[in-house]
């Protein structure tokens, strides 16, 4: 089903003024600032290769950069933890299955309509809230 995008008309746009104000301040600051001409990457080395070298603190990068090995490892670990946490959040409390939102989303109250993975055996009679 495709529909044309419609602009939202209702709602409270008053807080949006804050965003506009922020933009005003930022624009005022940026437009008064002046920069020299950008330098760009002028050498004939590969930028992508240089990124790779920089990321692992290897010598050989043509373009100037800093080393990022430690940041890389740290960010890898942190992101992994974040993903684990996301999975944990998404689990339902009762049976540990992912996708509890699907079950409840199907109907509001009746649990019977939830997808049953046990083939209908062991039908709960009320203790399954």
């Amino acid at each position: 089903m495709t529909t044309r995008p419609e602009l939202r008309t209702d709602g409270n746009f008053l807080p949006g003024l804050i965003a506009l104000a922020l933009f005003g301040v930022l624009a005022a600051v940026f437009l008064t600032a002046s920069f020299p001409d950008p330098q760009g990457f002028t050498g004939d080395g590969s930028i992508t290769a240089s990124i790779g070298y920089a990321m692992f603190d290897l010598a050989g990068g043509v373009h100037p950069s800093e080393g990022f090995l430690v940041s890389f490892i740290v960010i890898a670990v942190v992101l992994d933890a974040a993903l684990d946490a996301a999975v944990m959040l998404a689990k339902t409390e009762e049976d540990g299955r992912i996708g509890g939102a699907l079950r409840i989303g199907s109907t509001d109250t009746d649990d019977d309509s939830a997808a049953r993975t046990d083939g209908g055996r062991d039908r709960p009679t009320g203790e399954d809230r």
Binding site: I18, L22, L26, Q39, I51, L89, A101, D108
Partner: protein, 100 residues
């Protein structure tokens, strides 16, 4: 060569649009998307200055930011699912348990 101010202006615009979305919408998914917009605005800044100074640091940083954004979306969707389960909707104004 486009001067850096214009890139800054572009990124400021994007950032403020994202902020606008967060301030005016109630849908948690819209929140997520707005946050993506704001992160991207930051990335534009990084890359613009990387270009400005001919230094790759900004680009590497942007790379990290992209990875971070991906993970953030994963966590955000986890939160949205919990929100949906507990409040039967993704309206953030319904979830006021932490009120005074």
């Amino acid at each position: 060569m486009v001067p850096a101010q214009y890139y800054l202006l572009l990124s400021a615009a994007m950032f403020c649009i994202g902020l606008f979305g967060i301030l005016t919408r109630k849908n948690a998914l819209l929140f997520l998307m707005s946050v993506e917009l704001m992160l991207t605005a930051g990335n534009i800044n990084f890359v613009a200055f990387s270009f400005q100074y001919g230094n790759l640091t900004g680009q590497v940083f942007s790379l990290f930011t992209i990875a971070l954004a991906a993970a953030e979306v994963a966590v955000g969707i986890g939160i949205i699912l919990v929100l949906y389960r507990n409040f039967r909707g993704v309206d953030v104004t319904q979830a006021t348990t932490m009120r005074w």
